[in-house]
């Protein structure tokens, strides 16, 4: 393994241990465990957003699938008395199904209009949750969503997973698996088709790629992941509130986008880094609560203008700068050559 490869693997092992032992390290501090669990849920959500950018679309409506996932899961567990795990999967599948139905009309529309549509649809779902009081508890929200309950784990004994400190591990496992799936898909042959579609979707069609089909698959997977994150959230939070400032509102869609861009939308780890950095930043600036949106908004704009590749892309941006600067200094010192393309630093002045 190359030195870089070894360094990367070491980094992942370190992250792994940090994640596993974080709650212990924080001394069982409930507040921080909650923050971390929500952070993990958000990472999955932002990753689903990033997944859609692989086909060159920006979905501002992932929160709509979160609504579906959360409320279906809550209803299945509370009214149909399903167990945690089947309910989780079914909720995500329902979100994916809705994604499938919406995909057909949506994917016929390009660029900005697709984004507008997704935004409006997510708002619709939230409003449905807000007004369909019978099923969702309406504006008062839905309380008492149960968690996975008590399970007996070999060597550890009975663990109550309703407690945030323990639910944290379930969330981490689910999200890690989901992220691995997304990571794998991006490197699979289907990821290559998505790249082709993103580069030139007319040419992709001309070489036989079913563009709408592959875009649909992408969108449905993203919907599934978003729905999954919603269901995991529901059992964690135990309360669901569909008002406009909640996790289901437009503001959340905005934050998700910012997390992704700050981290770097071209990299798989972008959502992870962006969400982690900005969440921690929000925690540190709790005192300045009034100014928080301003800070986040400011960061978003600055990153978009000056660091478009995000934090993960920063090294590459630096090498790009250095290379450009090197070229410029070479241009200044090298003599003008007649039509030649090469610029050798060793050219002596006076050569024609």
């Amino acid at each position: 393994m190359s030195k870089r490869g070894a360094a990367k693997s070491l980094l992942w092992v370190a992250i792994f241990f940090v994640v596993i032992f974080m709650p212990k390290m924080l001394g069982g501090n409930q507040y921080w465990v909650t923050v971390l669990a929500l952070l993990a849920i958000n990472v999955l959500l932002v990753s689903s957003l990033r997944s859609v950018t692989l086909i060159n679309e920006i979905s501002l409506g992932q929160v709509g699938f979160v609504v579906i996932g959360a409320y279906v899961h809550a209803t299945l567990m509370m009214k149909a008395h399903l167990h945690f795990w089947p309910s989780l999967i079914i909720s995500a599948l329902v979100a994916a199904l809705i994604g499938l139905i919406l995909a057909y009309p949506f994917l016929k529309v390009r660029g900005i209009y697709f984004s507008i549509l997704t935004l409006l649809t997510a708002e619709t779902f939230r409003l449905v949750a807000y007004y369909w009081t019978k099923v969702t508890g309406g504006s008062l929200g839905l309380t008492g969503v149960p968690g996975p309950g008590k399970e007996s784990i070999p060597f550890v004994g009975v663990v109550d997973f309703n407690k945030p400190g323990n639910y944290y591990y379930i969330a981490i496992v689910i999200i890690a698996v989901a992220l691995l799936i997304l990571y794998y898909l991006e490197r699979a042959y289907i990821g290559f088709q998505w790249r082709a579609i993103k580069d030139d979707n007319t040419l992709a069609g001309a070489v036989g790629i079913n563009v709408i089909g592959y875009k649909t698959v992408n969108f449905v997977i993203a919907a599934f992941m978003a729905g999954l994150s919603g269901a995991v959230f529901a059992s964690f939070q135990h309360n669901l509130s569909p008002d406009s400032t909640s996790r289901f509102g437009v503001t959340m869609s905005i934050y998700l986008l910012v997390y992704m861009v700050v981290g770097g939308k071209d990299y798989f780890t972008g959502p992870l880094l962006g969400t982690a950095v900005l969440t921690l930043l929000s925690e540190e600036t709790r005192r300045l609560e009034q100014y928080q949106p301003m800070i986040i908004g400011g960061i978003a704009i600055i990153v978009m203008i000056f660091m478009p590749m995000g934090l993960v892309g920063l090294p590459r941006q630096f090498t790009g700068w250095r290379r450009a600067r090197k070229m410029r200094t070479l241009e200044r010192t090298a003599p003008p050559t007649a039509g030649a393309t090469g610029m050798a630093a060793g050219d002596s002045p006076g050569e024609a």
Binding site: R187, F192, Q193, D199, D200, L203, A204, V207, G208, N210
Partner: protein, 257 residues
Amino acid sequence: MAILEVKDLSRHFGGLAAVNKVSVSVEEGEIIGLIGPNGAGKSTVLNLIDGTLKVSGGTIAFRGRTITRYPPHRRAHLGIARVFQKNALFKSMTVLENITAGAYLRTRHGPWGVIGHTYERVRRQPDVVARAQELLEFVGLQDRTHELCTSLPHGSQRELCVAVALASDPTLLLLDEPLTGMNAEETDSMISIIKSINQTRGTTVIVVEHNVRAVLGLCARAVVLNYGEKLMEGTPRECVADPAVIEAYLGTDSDVA
């Protein structure tokens, strides 16, 4: 045997007929030219044949099958390939990746293969490797396999476009102004590539071109379009000598070599 039958093909934009009741019959294995002044609708006809544009009227049949309503990728499945007028390439990909993408239809993967196989594994399939190598040599790009396609000069990019189109091993190749923006040397190179495609692989070729001299050397038959309608068809020599065709060209600003 007619491989492609176009009957009364029409395409309207608003009230304007860009293509009006054009009928052409293309024999298997021939190179046929589609010529005419600027704006005659030649590219539109290609767009209709390969499915990029929807047909307003008329029918298209390929090997006896009516494909009028088929989306582009389905037509590709049947063996129709297209080289676009502007350099359409997968911009983030290298030369080799472009060809591998073009070979999508000829890679072996079942319906779940897109998820099951990684890109690397597909790329290493022996027949994919062989095909890519052959195509690269065919267009002369074997030395630039791992370069980003955007760093190639214009002429080489055009050749890559042809290679990508050939990657799916098509029976019918649609070339949209392949010689645009090329100098004399590149033009000759492209012409010999096209001839070779037709002779060694037996691919039927429809060429849309402005450069009438090139068409003279390349095509056995030509169809002349003007204002979206078929003016005449015949051997290139006949077409160029025809008074109506000459008038159509002189009446507009285009180059008659």
